[in-house]
């Protein structure tokens, strides 16, 4: 990769350098994964009427899933209504979703609707910031595009946004490999 090339999903150069080759391949693959099938009707049916969001949200969903696949923090709660909607649309395409999960994660990335045990997302928020920089505004909007008042505060002070939907975390970390 030359200096002028943009790194996958805009990851910082430092974080990219620190990654193993295997993780770089995963991130590149996730970045290039075509999610265009969720644009249009699938998102409209979920209530996202502004088509601009259908495109903007794709990279954010990829970043979320990349963090899951590569860093595997717990809990990994989805707190953005817009990104959650994109995730739902992806899941509804069961064949593509299963292919994605098996290829990059080796098993299904489960989805538990309606929250769950943990709601503190400060760990993966820290990973996101270190890899990709600040969260863009799209994470703080409801599906109609209106800013959710508490989010900007919480993202910066609590890191403990209540998740709308949580993934399948069992709340346990795998034993570290030494």
């Amino acid at each position: 990769m030359t200096k002028d090339d943009k790194l996958p999903l805009g990851i910082s150069e430092k974080a990219w350098k620190d990654m193993s080759d295997e993780d770089r391949d995963k991130l590149t693959g996730i970045s290039e994964f075509n999610l265009d099938f969720i644009v249009g009707d699938p998102m409209f049916r979920q209530g996202v009427t502004n088509k601009r969001f259908h495109f903007d949200v794709q990279d954010e969903l990829k970043k979320f899933l990349a963090i899951k696949v590569i860093a595997e923090p717990h809990p990994l709660g989805m707190f953005s209504p817009l990104v959650a909607t994109a995730w739902h649309c992806f899941i509804l395409n069961t064949i593509q979703y299963e292919e994605f999960c098996q290829k990059y994660y080796g098993r299904t990335i489960h989805h538990v609707p309606g929250g769950g045990a943990g709601s503190d997302n400060s760990v993966w928020i820290a990973i996101y910031r270190e890899w990709f920089g600040e969260f863009p505004m799209i994470w703080m909007l409801d599906i109609g595009g209106t800013e959710i008042p508490k989010y900007a505060y919480s993202l910066n002070t609590e890191g403990a946004l209540t998740s709308r939907d949580l993934d399948s975390d069992d709340g346990q970390y795998a034993q570290p490999e030494r």
């Binding site: 430092k14 620190d18 820290a126 990973i127 270190e130 900007a152 910066n156 002070t157 609590e158 570290p176």
Partner: protein
């Protein structure tokens, strides 16, 4: 000319509320031996001077030179805000906001070198902005008026060493070599032999005192000046016995009115640490105890001192000075306090121990122990073992809960990236702390520094470390921090993520404390709250709320920034909780989303309990 002056140089942010122990102890020892001696806390004097409006203007000007872009805009906004509000209002949530301001002062006027060699480089003095030097020069002129023969520099913290060297250079310019200049203090004890030799060669100091200064100071100030013709003397103290420690007179505090309220006075409890085995710790080098890990004063001696302080300064806090107060010693002190009905109002370090249960903390609480700072460091059994701590995970977590249950403010020190830690280990530690956030008053996460003299520096291979010999750099722990690489350790990105997580947890702990204080306290018509006086809006294009005391920034849309500014202007003095809530609703009529915007505001930590009743 026979007077001795013991100087406590800038900058020691932990000595804002009261004097550090070392200089007043040396003064009392010298006076007891019949010498004329005073101490000067140049730390608090410099800080007070820098907080003058005229100094703040100079800091603002200097920031034009040393900063640019968004950083300049942010720092200048902070200093202007401090100037407009005044120190008292700016620090209404405690002195943490002032510490941020001091960091800006230092960047503007007191840039610090990274190594001792750079500190000693004569050209460094020429690069220093003139205003900072002129403050020091004024102090030196005052000292010159004291008819002084000996000046002792007591350097307790790393940030003081560069300033001690600069002040010493200025002293040499003013006094030439007619004054005896002695360097000592905890930070000097921790330096490597090569660093001490470097200081000795600099032709600044007549003597460098290593070990227990209380034992050597009286001899040092009587050495004839011509004895130094052959160069600087490096003087090591003999070992100190328990009897000698007990015989040290009470510290002679100078003017206590210059410190920030509440006044906190130090009381010596032990030299050394009763455990003394932690593999990261270099503190065994602080004192020469003849092979013993620690020696304590008797609880009776400490109690007599505390009683004296509490009588003289009824509202003062007491800092029990020890690397770790032994539990058995604490029990005896508390028994004395209860017997004589004296509230200790104390803070101290402690180690986690299996025996610290309800009865122990209940006793401490009854005797008025206010806060305990635990050297927790980790909650992982494997890492605690690598650290050679005496406790396991269960003990650590139990201690935190039980102490908090007895209304003792628990301060927790952590090292989340200790050598051999995996990324997952660090994340689990964060989980453990988050689960107990309601038990914790304050969190002090420190990323690992390898320091000369620690077990880890002596046997680095045990910790997967490759050490660069004699390669030192400055850290919060001092100039004796060693450069190293960790094999199979966290990557730089992982370490940055861990740092972010723990800074966030520290902030969250502080916010939780504020929130609980408002929500759980008795809310009546007499309950007063106020807006954190350090909070300000920064950024021209992208507005942010910066709560300086929490060092947190919150991005705001333009209309919310306007609303918030209106609210902050309307609530610039303490008021009732319900009045403030009304003021918020009046200024933020558009906040009608699904979440409770008032709660969202509270959860930023912007609102604190009023320290003072409504005027």
């Amino acid at each position: 000319m026979s007077r001795t002056v013991i100087l406590f140089p800038p900058f020691a942010e932990s000595a804002l509320h009261g004097p550090h122990l070392a200089a007043p102890l040396l003064v009392s020892v010298l006076r007891e031996n019949g010498f004329d001696c005073v101490s000067e806390d140049l730390n608090i004097k410099t800080i007070r001077r820098l907080l003058n409006p005229a100094s703040l203007d100079i800091v603002l000007q200097q920031l034009d030179t040393v900063t640019e872009g968004a950083e300049r805009e942010k720092y200048q906004a902070c200093i202007r805000h401090l100037k407009d509000k005044g120190v008292r209002a700016f620090a209404n949530a405690g002195t943490s906001s002032l510490r941020v301001a001091f960091a800006i002062f230092r960047k503007a006027l007191f840039p610090t070198p990274e190594t001792i060699s750079e500190c000693l480089d004569k050209t460094f003095l020429q690069t220093r902005p003139q205003y900072g030097l002129s403050i020091y020069d004024e102090f030196i002129q005052e000292i010159a008026g004291l008819d002084v023969q000996t000046i002792g520099m007591s350097v307790a913290f790393s940030e003081q060493l560069s300033e001690a060297i600069i002040i010493s250079r200025l002293i040499r310019e003013r006094f030439d070599h007619s004054v005896r200049l002695i360097l000592g203090g905890g930070q000097v004890n921790l330096l490597s032999a090569s660093q001490i030799a470097e200081l000795a060669k600099a032709k600044l100091f007549n003597a460098i005192s290593i070990g227990n200064g209380e034992q050597t100071i009286s001899k040092l100030i009587t050495v004839p000046m011509d004895a130094y013709n052959d160069g600087c003397h490096i003087v090591r103290s003999p070992s100190m016995s328990r009897q000698e420690l007990e015989a040290i007179p009470s510290p002679a505090f100078a003017d206590t009115t210059q410190y920030f309220a509440p006044l906190a006075l130090p009381v010596l409890v032990t030299k050394g640490c009763y455990w003394g085995k932690c593999t990261f710790c270099d503190y065994p080098r602080l004192s020469n105890l003849g092979g013993l890990r620690f020696i304590p004063v008797t609880p009776q001696k400490a109690f007599t001192e505390i009683k004296h302080h509490r009588e003289k300064y009824p509202d003062c806090h007491v800092n029990l000075i020890s690397d770790a107060v032994p539990a058995s010693w604490y029990r005896k002190l508390c028994a004395l306090a209860l017997q004589e009905d004296v509230q200790l109002n104390s803070w101290s370090y402690m180690m986690h121990e299996a025996g610290l249960e309800d009865g122990f903390f209940s006793l401490l609480s009854q005797a008025g122990v206010k806060a305990i700072n635990f050297g927790t460091e980790s909650t992982n059994d494997r890492i605690l073992s690598v650290m050679c701590k005496q406790s396991d995970r269960k003990t650590v977590l139990d201690n935190l809960s039980v102490a908090a249950r007895h209304n003792i403010a628990v301060v927790v020190n952590l090292i989340p990236d200790y050598p051999t830690s995996t990324f997952t280990d660090a994340l689990i530690l964060a989980d453990d702390i988050r689960d107990r956030i309601n038990c914790i008053e304050s969190l002090n996460p420190h990323m690992f520094d390898l320091t000369e003299g620690s077990v880890a520096s002596q046997t680095p291979e045990r910790f997967n470390l490759n050490v660069e010999n004699n390669a030192y750099q400055r850290s919060n722990h001092g100039f004796h921090t060693m450069r190293y690489q960790e094999r199979n350790g966290l990557t730089t990105t992982q370490r940055n993520i861990v740092r972010r997580i723990f800074i966030d947890l520290k902030r969250k702990t502080a916010i939780t404390r504020r929130l609980n204080g408002i929500q759980n306290g008795p809310v009546t018509k007499d309950t007063y709250v106020e807006v954190d006086g350090s909070a300000l809006l920064v950024g021209r294009k992208n507005k942010r709320l910066w709560i300086v005391s929490l060092d947190t920034e919150i991005p705001l849309s333009p209309h919310r920034a306007k609303e918030l500014q209106g609210f902050m202007d309307a609530c610039s003095s303490p008021m009732g909780l319900s009045d403030m809530q009304r003021a918020f609703k009046h200024n933020a009529p558009q906040n009608d989303g699904g979440e409770d915007p008032w709660y969202a505001l509270l959860s930023t930590g912007l609102i604190i309990h009023a320290r003072h009743q409504h005027p």
